[in-house]
Structure formats: structure tokens, C-alpha cells
Amino acid sequence: MRAVAPAGAAMEPAAKLAGFVACAIVVATTPEWKPASLAAYAALAVALLVWFAAPVRLVLKRVLAAAPVVLLTATMLAYQAGGMRAGLLMAAKAGIVIFLFAILTATTPVSELLAAMRRLGMPAAAGSVLALMERYVRLLGEELGRMHRARASRTTRQLGAAHRLRSEGHLAGALLLRSWNRSDRVYQAMLARGFTGDWPAAKRTAWGMRELTVLAAMLAGYAAARWI
């Protein structure tokens, strides 16, 4: 927990999501190479990074993780179809969009973003599956780690490549079976706790003046940057 809440911390997640998506669309639909606009987009993204007090290392890590795909595609575009300028434009736009979303995901808990998406009309089955995944991916990942350790402690020689794949397949199959059987117990436990078919909504939130002001400022900034 932070000692001092950052300026943007209290923003309602659905408003925040809408704001970042809208700004990303403004950036991604920019039709031509305009260095002034691109520089302004980047400067505004840095301002948002500060305003939302995003952890800088985490944001940079996520942008760098996406870099190979972006650079590969931009290179292909530059040399095969659109020319150097088209490649550069695509790489710059993609970089800024990814930077924006990295700020969003680094400053908003996944559970809040998912709740916001459920409120914004995500199909119900997908929302339920996501609620379960959010809870069980880590738990089952840890279980798989324990299974790996158990196998390593019983395996004395190095496995060959084919044998190794088969052995990994068996572990994955065992984990799947455990989850399959576990799902019945999970469902019974949910019923025992009063599950009626609806997922409890996260705390009710509403858009206030604050959300509207920040949204308007973000959009105005990006729209102005585009028409520079």
C-alpha cells in the first residue's frame, strides 16, 4: 500500500478504461507521419504516467515485451509494402498505444478492470469464466510447480527431448484431471455459500465530476495533439 494516494488513484475503472481506449483510438487512427503530433502523444502519455503514478519499471517492461512483434511487423511493412515512412509511423503509433495501455493495466487491479468490462456489456459466460480464471490461474500454476518439483525429486537422469515432451504432457494431463474434479467441489462450495447464478458485483461505483473532468482533459489533449 502507498502512504500517499496518487492523484489519479480514485478514478472509477470504467471511466478510466473508456478514457484510455478513446485516446488509443485517436493515436491509432492518425493517418500520416506528423512528428509534432507523435511527440505530443508521447508527452501526454508521460503526463498520464505521472498523474496516475504508474510504476515506471513495470510500464517499461511491458512496452519492451511487446517491442519485438511491433518492430518485426514494422520492418516487414517498411521493406515489402509501404516504405520506410509507413513502417516508422506504424511502429510509433503502436508504441504509444501500448505505452498507454501499459499505464492503464499497471495502475488498475485486473479485478476492477474485469468488473468494469462486465458492467460495459461483456457476454455473461465470458465474465464468469474470467472471474474463475482470475482466482484459479495462480493457484493451479503453483500446483503445477509443486508437481514439477515432485517429479524432479524422483527423476535421477536427464530426459531426452521426446521423452521430456511426453512427460510434460502427462503432468499437464494430471493437472487438467485435478482441475476437472476440483470444479465439482468448487461448484458445490459455491452453492453452499449461497451462489444463485449471479456473480456478486464489485463495489458499486459511479461517474462523478472528477471522472468527467479527467476524461474530458485526456480526450481534449489527444484531439489537440492530433490536429497540431
Binding site: V69, V129, L130, L139, L165, L176, S179
Partner: protein, 204 residues
């Protein structure tokens, strides 16, 4: 093969969302709570397995298990593919939020085709499982190559599909290993969803 944000034009992303939304909705339609819980747990374990890097032939590979998702979930796989892609976009920024519709279409096509290959009952089970795993990788890769060509990014990605064929073969071997394990230990898992799950454990 995840398409990152900002690469495919926004109009294409919007069109893909318009196609993906009804596909995801139909795929999850009329799923009862016990079946949903099963889908969630299966999705979580596939996701957990896909995060593990396996040392193989001098490098580390990781499997996507789209083929296995198709085998286990059949028509329900589109919901799970969408959910997994959204979670990846939020947790690790693999793929992206604008490109989520495009990625969902590409990957669901792989999973649904894999489920179909498994269920047509042509050939021995080991071969069908291999084919399903192979299709789960190669079809999304081909879809990306076609999309990039249509969007005007050239034909460069066709060269990559050759590379993906090798990845797909490894994935096929892994999928058939998992399926043979399940067939020996609890074969009902391989044909339970989406229809028969209610008779099995849930509905209490």
C-alpha cells in the same frame, strides 16, 4: 501468434469485434453454472500449463494448447479463448485491447477447427489429437499472414508460417501425449463438454 495493439488498422479491429462478439456470445449461450465452473477451471489449468517454458532442443518452448481447448471444450472454446486472451492482454500485455477481437477470431478458429478434427472420428485417436494440436497453431498463424496481406503489410508473414509449422508439430506431439494420458485415466473428459456435463457432477 498475438497481434499487438496499434498494428492492425482500427477499422479492422472494430469489424473483428463485431464478428467476435456474437461468436463469443453464442459459444457461451445456455451454459449452466456447473458447466461454467468446469470451463473456468479447465481454462485456468490450460493457461497455467501454457505459462511453463519447457527446455527443448536447445531453446525453451511453450505450448498454447488451443488444440486441446478445442478437444475438451468444443463449441464452448470461443468463450475460453476470448477470456484467456483478455487476461493475457491485462496481465502481460500479450496481444492487446484494440486487437482483442482480431486475436479472438484467429485463435477461436484454431480451437474450433481442432475440436472438429477431434470429433470427426477419422483415423486413430493419437493421430486426431496430433492433428488438433497442429491445427491449433497453424490456423491462427495462417490467419495472421492472410490478414497482414489484406491490410497491405506485404507477404512477409508467409515466411513465418514455415517456422510455425515446426512449432505446430511440437504442439501436436504434446497434445497427443496429454490426450493419451486422459484417455487412459478418465476418457469421459474428452467428450463431456458442452452437452453431457450436467449429468455428471453438477446440477446439485
Amino acid at each position: 501468434m498475438h497481434i499487438a495493439d496499434g498494428i492492425v488498422p482500427v477499422a479492422w479491429c472494430g469489424a473483428a469485434y463485431l464478428l467476435a462478439a456474437p461468436a463469443v456470445y453464442l459459444s457461451g449461450r445456455k451454459a449452466e453454472p456447473p458447466e461454467i465452473v468446469k470451463m473456468g477451471l479447465v481454462a485456468s489449468s490450460l493457461f497455467a500449463v501454457s505459462l511453463v517454458h519447457i527446455p527443448f532442443a536447445g531453446t525453451a518452448i511453450h505450448v498454447g494448447l488451443l488444440g486441446l481447448a478445442g478437444i475438451l471444450l468444443s463449441a464452448r472454446s470461443a468463450v475460453v479463448v476470448f477470456a484467456a486472451l483478455l487476461l493475457q492482454a491485462l496481465l502481460f500485455q500479450h496481444g492487446g485491447l484494440l486487437a482483442l477481437g482480431v486475436n479472438t477470431l484467429n485463435m477461436s478458429a484454431g480451437a474450433l477447427a481442432a475440436g472438429w478434427l477431434w470429433r470427426v472420428q477419422a483415423g486413430p485417436a493419437g493421430f486426431r489429437a496430433f492433428a488438433a494440436g497442429f491445427a491449433g497453431v497453424i490456423l491462427p498463424a495462417i490467419a495472421v499472414a492472410v490478414e497482414f496481406m489484406l491490410v497491405g503489410y506485404g507477404k512477409g508473414f508467409w515466411a513465418l508460417t514455415g517456422l510455425y509449422a515446426a512449432v505446430a508439430a511440437v504442439e501436436g506431439i504434446m497434445t497427443s501425449a496429454i490426450v493419451s494420458f486422459l484417455a487412459r485415466t478418465k476418457p469421459s473428459v474428452l467428450s463431456a463438454l458442452p452437452k453431457r456435463v450436467r449429468h455428471e457432477g453438477g446440477g446439485a
